[in-house]
């Protein structure tokens, strides 16, 4: 499809601007002197509104979201995004609210509704995770991870500890080591044993240099680490903090709380567990919760309640790590998550985890005959298979399997992650896929397994039902074309 630049026609216009109606001499003041003015206007397209609406409508029809079909992308929790939350986010009382309003004198009174959303969401997240305090500032999961590591650093600095290392399991999501490194720590990888981080290896690697360990439980292969209590105890004895990557929280709600598992810092992915839309790659939100002894370091401002029940922005926390976001977080995302939690309630959230774990195990058992599961025991909310045998026997890789699934009408699972499984296929159905969809996915995977043996070339050619086939990614990286070239 042509780009909007290629579609441009001189003189076409969609912009609709009000008339100024002030004296002409003020218009003169908008003409800048040459040294402050750009020499030529930016070459933005000239199109009518209908051109743009058709263009992006057609582009949307070349895109696949949860609203289109089953999207078992492991680790991402692609569950249904409730529409009523979109209505709430667009209410003018929320959408039109300027973030500086509560920073005016008596300004908190102008935004009590918004402050209530943040405050009440914090209370709910405390209940869900067992943590003692939350910040909504982090703007994505990885941002929450970075914030969490910054909190770790502040804690150790305050105690006079000299710590330079962060431990992560070999199955960790890439954002874990990346976040720790960016925060200034050296990252050391702990091996897994039997699918979960090895507690013995962990204890051997613990030293007084370790600031903390980043884990998720269940982990990225969907397995719950039953040694978590002894891992936490060992960590705390070395004054290392336990960080919980909340990406997999969809598996344990109502059954376990990160605080009870021994974690000191938690980030949540509101766009995963709490049903806010993924947006094609954001916006997300990654609120961070902490146990009491880390509360003082949380970013400011915090939303607090006065004796009379009114809420205000509290900046008076001298040990705070400062600002990780310009204001209070991705409020529009937090609002959607708040709405989701209110709608589901305690029983509903527990049922979410039950159905998520049930669906993943159902897939494990149904796919088992034709696909090699990475760990042959019950999983939690996601299950990892390996296509290594198909790669070895038929030359069919995890990539080929993914592309073939596209032709079958499904979004593929996560591939080549976690790194600890060769030719990994990580499926996370979530709790919102109906049984007939799960069965259809199993049937499709079955056909692909059969084809792998009978006609592997067909799988190498996949996908064939999409607007484009496999793209030359090598060339894209070697000779990058990252914008529409300007006309000569």
């Amino acid at each position: 499809m042509k780009t909007i630049f290629e579609m441009s026609r001189p003189g076409r216009r969609a912009a609709s601007l009000p008339c100024s109606r002030v004296d002409e001499r003020f218009c003169q003041m908008s003409r800048l002197p040459p040294e402050l003015r750009r020499s030529e206007p930016a070459e933005l397209p000239e199109l009518a509104e209908i051109d743009l609406v058709r263009h992006y409508t057609l582009l949307s029809r070349m895109n696949f979201g949860v609203d289109v079909g089953t999207y078992p992308l492991g680790s991402c929790t692609m569950k249904y995004n409730p529409k009523f939350t979109e209505v709430a986010a667009r209410l003018p009382g929320f959408a039109g609210l300027h973030p500086l309003l509560p920073q005016l004198r008596r300004g908190g009174l102008l935004a009590q509704g918004a402050l209530r959303v943040i405050y009440e969401l914090e209370q709910l997240l405390k209940q869900i995770t067992g943590m003692d305090a939350f910040t909504m500032q982090p703007l994505a999961g990885a941002h929450g991870e970075l914030t969490g590591i910054m909190l770790m650093a502040a804690y150790h600095h305050d105690k006079g500890n000299q710590k330079s290392l962060v431990l992560v399991p070999d199955s960790a999501h890439g954002t874990n080591p990346a976040s720790a490194a960016i925060a200034g720590y050296q990252v050391v990888t702990v091996p897994s044993k039997n699918g979960v981080m090895d507690p013995t290896a962990f204890k051997e690697m613990l030293s007084d240099q370790v600031a903390g360990v980043m884990m998720t439980n269940p982990n990225t292969v969907g397995l719950f680490n039953p040694y978590i209590a002894e891992i936490a105890e060992a960590a705390h004895q070395a004054d290392a903090l336990m960080y919980y990557d909340g990406a997999n929280l969809n598996a344990i709600m109502g059954y376990a709380k990160p605080a009870d598992l021994g974690f000191d810092i938690v980030h949540l992915n509101l766009h995963k567990t709490f049903g806010t839309p993924h947006g094609g790659g954001g916006p997300g939100a990654g609120p961070v919760g902490v146990v009491e002894r880390l509360r003082d370091y949380l970013p400011i401002s915090r939303v607090d309640m006065r004796g009379d029940g009114t809420l205000f922005l509290d900046y008076d926390h001298p040990k705070s790590i400062g600002y990780v976001a310009p204001f209070y977080g991705n409020f529009g995302v937090c609002l959607r998550a708040f709405a989701y939690i209110l709608a589901l309630g305690g029983e509903g959230l527990k049922e979410v985890s039950q159905d998520a774990v049930l669906a993943a195990n159902y897939l494990r058992v149904k796919l088992g005959p034709k696909w090699r599961v990475a760990f042959d025991r019950p999983c939690m909310h996601e299950v990892v298979f390996s296509a290594e045998d198909k790669a070895a026997q038929h030359g069919v890789s995890a990539l080929d399997v993914a592309k073939a699934l596209i032709d079958e009408g499904f979004h593929p699972p996560t591939i080549y992650f976690p790194l600890v499984v060769k030719e990994a296929l990580m499926l996370e159905p979530t709790e919102t896929e109906a049984m007939e969809n799960l069965d259809a996915l199993v049937a499709a995977m079955g056909r692909i397994a059969d084809k792998a043996a009978a006609d592997p070339e067909a799988l190498h050619a996949a996908p064939v039902t999409t607007p484009v086939g496999r793209l030359d990614e090598v060339s894209a990286a070697r000779h990058p074309v990252l914008q529409e070239p300007l006309e000569a």
Partner: protein, 439 residues
């Protein structure tokens, strides 16, 4: 309210396939002593009940204040087509386009967005978005540190104080030297710029709305082999000298003015564009154009070896989810404004602001600050504490501006007033009359 489709029969069938009696058996792996002791959440609500509750909360926020607040975030008109298009489920319920063949919609849109940002800034390459203008500024600073292998960053005090606090917060453990100084006048760089300077960070228009030509500043930092970083307003870029024309290396900024609602602080949009030489150290997702086996043009994520899912602790950044839907809104907005429309929008903002400035400085006791020219924001000095004046103006239904004492302790009588295309001549009149009355 429930979103799972499973009936009790479905669950029974799935359990039967597993040979289990109850779903609780699936959680047996969690040791009993670690189980949640309590699960004290309120019961769920129906759609009408929760919607009503949220509407009530929305109603507790001031909705009808005439908005002259800015500070980097502006009350612009958002054309209806933006929301209509980003509400399409094919876009907003998708995730990162890892499987390019089935995600050409978002990929091409992001390519168009990158193109638009390059044309606005004049620079060579843009990424698919960062979280917001502040984290974008931090990422730019870190690029300068990594590229030059130096430790000193000079930030002008006319850069957003919010972003300066963020930069300090992020870099506190990194053994960097962060120097904040008023370097609006390039002569002030003497004695500050040296061989250890990784980057110089400036903002145009600055936090006080004043437009500058920073070419001399960037020339000075380049002479010492440091990098020039410019924070920008994307609508001002329609008319203002571009980062490229000033010879900046990295342009960053907040994209909220491009079709994103104020939404009490987010979600927003960090944009970044760089010179060619910095492309491979740029953080964030990047979309490239390529072709498939049949020669058809297509788009895919590219240069992924910079990213966390490949390089892990060696990545240029940890960013995973970014602000893709906001970038989509921005490119649609820019398409709707168009080449001519965006210029007119920028000029209209400046015109309304110029009128407001004259009306306000005509009030007895209200003094201009700065010489300008300005974009759509300016300072005035009041004869009383600006916080008091603003508080009184709220009672008149007007958010008159941002009292600068909040972030600049020596400016407690200064008020930062933003005027967009939405502020009519009448509304500006009410602002002036109201302010005169309360002083």
């Amino acid at each position: 309210m429930r979103f799972t489709p499973h009936t009790p029969e479905d669950r029974a069938a799935m359990l039967a396939a597993l040979g289990l009696g109850s779903v609780d058996e699936l959680f047996a792996v969690i040791p009993e002593p670690l189980r949640a002791r309590s699960w004290d959440l309120p019961p769920g609500m129906s759609e009408p009940e929760v919607s009503q509750y949220l509407a009530k909360l929305a109603g507790l926020n001031a909705q009808n204040l005439v908005c002259f607040l800015g500070g980097g975030f502006y009350d612009h008109h958002i054309p209806a087509a933006v929301d209509a298009l980003i509400s399409r489920g094919e876009f907003y319920t998708a995730y990162t386009p890892y499987q390019a063949e089935m995600s050409q919609g978002i990929l091409q849109s992001i390519f168009e967005y990158q193109s638009a940002i390059c044309r606005l800034t004049g620079l060579d390459a843009a990424n698919a978005s960062l979280y917001d203008g502040g984290t974008a500024l931090y990422e730019a600073a870190m690029m300068a540190v990594r590229k030059t292998k130096r430790k000193k960053l000079i930030v002008c005090t006319s850069v957003s104080p919010i972003y300066r606090i963020m930069l300090k917060s992020y870099t506190i453990n990194l053994h960097l030297e962060l120097v904040e100084a008023d370097v609006s006048d390039p002569a002030a760089l003497e004695g500050l710029l040296d061989q250890d300077t990784a980057g110089l960070i400036l903002q145009n228009p600055d936090f006080f709305g004043v437009l500058h030509d920073y070419a001399p500043h960037f020339e000075a930092v380049h002479a010492l082999k440091g990098l020039g970083i410019l924070g920008c307003n994307p609508i001002a870029l329609a008319v203002a000298k571009t980062p490229a024309e000033m010879d900046a290396d990295i342009a960053v900024g907040e994209g909220q003015p491009l079709g994103l609602p104020l939404s009490f602080g987010g979600p927003y949009l960090g944009f970044m564009a760089v010179r060619e030489a910095l492309l491979r150290t740029m953080p964030g997702r990047i979309v490239g154009r390529t072709h498939d086996g049949q020669g058809r043009t297509g788009y895919c994520l590219t240069l992924q070896t910079r990213e966390q899912h490949i390089r892990r602790e060696k990545a240029t950044s940890n960013i995973c989810s970014n602000e893709a839907l906001c970038a989509l809104a921005a490119v649609i907005f820019l398409g709707l404004m168009g080449k001519q429309g965006l210029v007119e929008l920028a000029e209209l903002n400046m015109t309304q602001a110029a009128y407001a400035r004259e009306r306000l400085t005509a009030i007895d006791g209200v003094e201009p600050v700065d010489q300008g020219p300005w974009f759509n924001e300016f300072r005035v000095r009041l004869p009383i504490d600006a916080r008091v004046a603003v508080s009184r103006m709220i009672d008149k239904g007007i958010a008159a501006g941002f009292p600068l004492g909040r972030y600049y302790p020596d400016q407690s009588n200064n008020l930062l007033v933003a005027v967009t295309e939405k502020r009519s001549k009448e509304e500006i009149g009410y602002l002036a009359e109201g302010l005169e009355a309360v002083l």
